[in-house]
Symmetry: C2
Subunit: 79 residues, 2 copies
Amino acid sequence: MARVVVDVMPKQEILDPQGQAVANALPKLGFEGVLEVRQGKRFELEVADSVDDETIAKIAETVLANPVIEDWTVRRVEA
Amino acid sequence: MARVVVDVMPKQEILDPQGQAVANALPKLGFEGVLEVRQGKRFELEVADSVDDETIAKIAETVLANPVIEDWTVRRVEA
């Protein structure tokens, strides 16, 4: 069994209203000095050893991320 | 300026309907061998150099994560 992490973030040129909302809220809560916040998604997958990198890449591209508006990275991590 | 990544995941004992929906969808889409999916959030922050680790930890705990149902990690990364 292997553990895979897929990070999905809005592309830099795409507006990120969730992140902007957080960034706008911080000064009102007394936190100064945060210049930008981007919010994305993190997926942790438990996959059978039979699942190869190509399959994981395909899952990330077709199910976890929207390639039109999001960038993503895939990496295997220690279980 | 520094870049900070905050990963927020549902605690292991908390139901994760989003992750379960993905896990249930995968076999129907032809992807076998994924045993579990957990979905969380990833935040990327640009912070001024004056912002110390204690402040970032406080932001993560009070604004980005819900400590009752979520675990989180904070790390500085290369810009």
